[in-house]
Symmetry: D2
Subunit: 135 residues, 4 copies
Amino acid sequence: MDGVERAVRRISSNDRFARMVGVAIEEVRPGYARVTMKVEDKHLNSVDITHGAAVFTVADTAFALASNSHGRVALALNMSINFLKATGYGSILTAEATEDNLTNRTGLYRITVKDETGDLVSLAEGLVYRKKEDI
Amino acid sequence: MDGVERAVRRISSNDRFARMVGVAIEEVRPGYARVTMKVEDKHLNSVDITHGAAVFTVADTAFALASNSHGRVALALNMSINFLKATGYGSILTAEATEDNLTNRTGLYRITVKDETGDLVSLAEGLVYRKKEDI
Amino acid sequence: MDGVERAVRRISSNDRFARMVGVAIEEVRPGYARVTMKVEDKHLNSVDITHGAAVFTVADTAFALASNSHGRVALALNMSINFLKATGYGSILTAEATEDNLTNRTGLYRITVKDETGDLVSLAEGLVYRKKEDI
Amino acid sequence: MDGVERAVRRISSNDRFARMVGVAIEEVRPGYARVTMKVEDKHLNSVDITHGAAVFTVADTAFALASNSHGRVALALNMSINFLKATGYGSILTAEATEDNLTNRTGLYRITVKDETGDLVSLAEGLVYRKKEDI
């Protein structure tokens, strides 16, 4: 079983937070991942727009899949996220993580979150530390 | 009803994402907020530690309360978060947001997340755009 | 004179810091800029590699040109920069800024810095506040 | 010679970029540094305020001193900087770096830049990777 399969299996079977939030894995390749989430009432904040932490969760799941796709455990050190467009009930969010840089010890990923019209909702950059152990 | 009361009432009654995740408001003053979350099974990620997005949610709730505490709607533009210590089932996370800077249009907040031993779990800096409308 | 011309004229004639550091403007279009810098002894840090602040200066000049290219004054609110590869004396750094998002009030830019071999040296994301006044 | 002395000696004698920009070291202790810079014409940008990259250079010098003060070479991985107040010719900028977190492999620093009136000019958070070799 290669890194992509192990990362997908691990996260799809055991990531309880992503499951509670309702993030669905769509596609994973080495250094790349795409996930989706349909915005429901439970994702809204106090002013009835999608909560920043819900948007973060979608972005973070794509980030985790892409950064663990090489088969070694990758732990997030830092994430910088920009919130660009408010969405609400019924929106469908798609997050894509692509690899900007990979060294033996670190990986840097760009994550875009778009809504169903293709508009950019959020843009993030995440840095991981790569452990020696396999996922 | 002042800004602090309005922000607390709004968020405690209507923030469905924070409620699902289980964040409790402890204290809010102008430019300051403190919240807590007890780590349960639902907060864990695929390697059995507290999910980064769960930690973000605690930090973000403190950030939202502090930045809305002046009575005007504050919308997050950017958040940069560092993950420093892994925690797990049974940990009690406390997030505190303090105001680093406030102008008519923007506010900058520092958010610390600590565990029950006082260790720093996460450190974030968040920027908001302040709308003219009241919360 | 359009926004691109005004931004280029303003920055090329009056940006004393960029001039001291030695950044050359190569190309500017609406929402885009490319600049270069040849690494000299004056750009080195204490361990003889290109100083992070020199790399930042190249990135920041591309960012300023791209964000002011629409003809309105843009002021940086935030910049998050990742340092990926060390370079040294004789390297030629090229920074490119592209526009990720533009609203009436804010603009978000991605800036890449590459060396003469095409390797990524630095990756940054910058946010500006757009004033109403023309540059 | 301890880590503080070695870091100060190394940076004060060999950091050519900080010297060109004109940053003065004021105080260094383990995990802490304070530096100053007087804003001259050469530090100004095209709209006659202190260049963001000049502010970054002051912040970065404090960051380098604090992160190398333990005696091991520390290399910046990431820096997120917020620009809060414009300053100009004649301002005196003081940057202070304090240690938020230190592990065997990484260090996290908060850097404030203030002007001569005590106002916050810039706020940054920087992450280093700590090499095994001594500075």
